[in-house]
């Protein structure tokens, strides 16, 4: 094996970060996307614009502001220090917070589209069949939005796996703690260690492709049984 233990660590940290971020985003994003779909709040568009920012913002910009906020003198880091905890900059937890913000639109938007595609009718039908609002959400909206959940999970996971600038700013590339695979590849290329860069890149390529393959295969099967 050409990969060093440090490379394997970086790969493991990437997977753990992506998995945890996706999980948190599904938990936060589902109610958020549902609310965005259903709400008639006048200023909803403002919130939607803010939530979409990570799509267009350079990752280093987001990383920079997060670093400031999470550092010992930032509002969040300062609060942590005052409470006797360690500031979050250059920690794995800090990376998770950054990734959740960074990948949020990649999870929320597919969910929002899926909820919108269901339309009002199935929920009205459920209401006339004695289902309470929460019951309608769980027994009708969630199952009908299933393809959207798969898309959201894979996009959120893959996007987190691929982030670079934000992770570098917030995490600081500490091997074994905040060094992720995408940064390790960059380090190898810098040091002209192309074979290790190949192994890590190939691994990420294969993983990303397999995930997308799963989504398209599933969605094809799912849409094939729809009228």
């Amino acid at each position: 094996m050409i990969l060093t233990p440090q490379d394997l660590d970086a790969f493991r940290i990437s997977l753990a970060l992506a998995a945890l971020t996706t999980l948190i985003l599904l938990l936060l994003g589902t109610p958020l996307a549902w609310w965005l779909t259903r709400s008639r709040w006048r200023f909803k568009f403002l919130l939607e614009a803010v939530l979409a920012l990570p799509l267009v913002l350079p990752p280093t910009v987001l990383g920079f502001y997060l670093l400031i906020a999470l550092g010992p003198h930032g509002p969040i880091g300062g609060l942590m220090t005052a409470l006797g905890a360690r500031p979050l900059a250059f920690t794995f937890s800090g990376l998770v917070i950054g990734s959740v913000i960074y990948s949020l639109p990649f999870v929320v938007q597919p969910l929002q589209n899926a909820f919108r595609a269901i339309g009002q009718r199935p929920l009205e039908v459920a209401a006339t069949l004695r289902a309470s609002p929460l019951d309608r959400f769980l027994s009708v909206a969630l199952p009908l939005a299933r393809p959207g959940f798969l898309t959201a999970s894979v996009l959120g996971f893959a996007h987190t796996l691929g982030e670079f600038g934000m992770v570098l700013m917030v995490g600081g590339n500490i091997p074994g703690s905040t060094q992720v695979a995408s940064i390790a590849i960059y380090d190898h290329v810098e040091a002209l260690e192309y074979s290790q860069a190949h192994w890590l890149s190939g691994g990420l390529l294969l993983l990303s492709f397999l995930m997308l393959l799963a989504v398209y295969a599933f969605n094809r099967r799912f849409t094939a049984v729809q009228p």
């Binding site: 009718r121 009205e124 006339t128 009908l144």
Partner: protein, 355 residues
Amino acid sequence: MTIEAAFHIQRGDFSLAVELQIPRRGVSALFGPSGCGKTTLLRAIAGLERDPQGYLRVGEELWQDRQRFRPAHRRPLGYVFQEPSLFGHLDVRRNIEYGFKRLPVNGRRVALDRIVDLLGIAHLLERQPHQLSGGEQQRVAIARALAVSPSMLLLDEPLAALDMASKQEILPYLESLHRELEIPVLYVSHSRDEVARLADWLVLLEAGRVLAAGEVGELFTRLDLALAQRPDAESVIEATVAGRDEAFALSLLDFPGGRFRVAGSRLPPGSRIRLQILARDVSLTLERQSKTSILNIFPAIVDALSDAGKAQTTVRLLVGGLPLLSRITRKSAVDLDLKPGRRIYAQIKSVALLS
């Protein structure tokens, strides 16, 4: 037992402003052209359309007023939408069980097997909704609505989205529903034929207002309403099957004005049947004709007259107290000197059996 409703709903250009009472028995139809507000009214009754000023009382229970609003899922109704709207992620059986499972056990008054039999869908239970025809899907949707043991069934043009064959397939089920289950039905329709077949009570809507409400037989024949002015104006009369004239293969049908003799298939004695009589098939004579091929001749009293164009007159008759329309030429009306109160004979050339 009645339903008392008052709604004022504004949606863009359209406004619905109605106050009405509907009997809570038999089939009541909300009838009118597209865009008259009948679906909005039905949705408001179901609690799907919010009107903060709305008022709705069903029998003894107040469902909404300015202070209170009982949400849709707490109203003991069954609702069938224009499109079947089956849940795509559940098979037919679980579609039907969806509402049933959500009832408290002591609220499950209707047996699922009976509903499944009534709508003839036992062979479809294991299928997925997209494998069914439009007519089958709508039958499943009706079964699903009945499975919640509703105290009232709301149907929003359940046949409108279907082709002619599927319509003919479902109508008998709707009629048997009406006979077999004693659930009051509120039925939205823009089809006069459906209303003539199914409805007992009629609410005529136009541009968000109630034009008139009353018994079907009454409203079809009121000369001040458009129904009686149409070229194909008709009367609807309920009769009871009294027996059969075997020698001539005629069914004998009694109604308060006399006895109809009608050719056609054998009907179970004692059953109620609806007769549809086109106004242009009813001619009038001052004396009873004996030498005529027409079988159905009844004494009648002229109730009212209204000219239908330059050449024709619509005459509203009372036969045994029931209204019957006749369309004759204006000249005949003058020659016979027809005026309210005049005693005459109505000769009915043709009768259609509706159920």
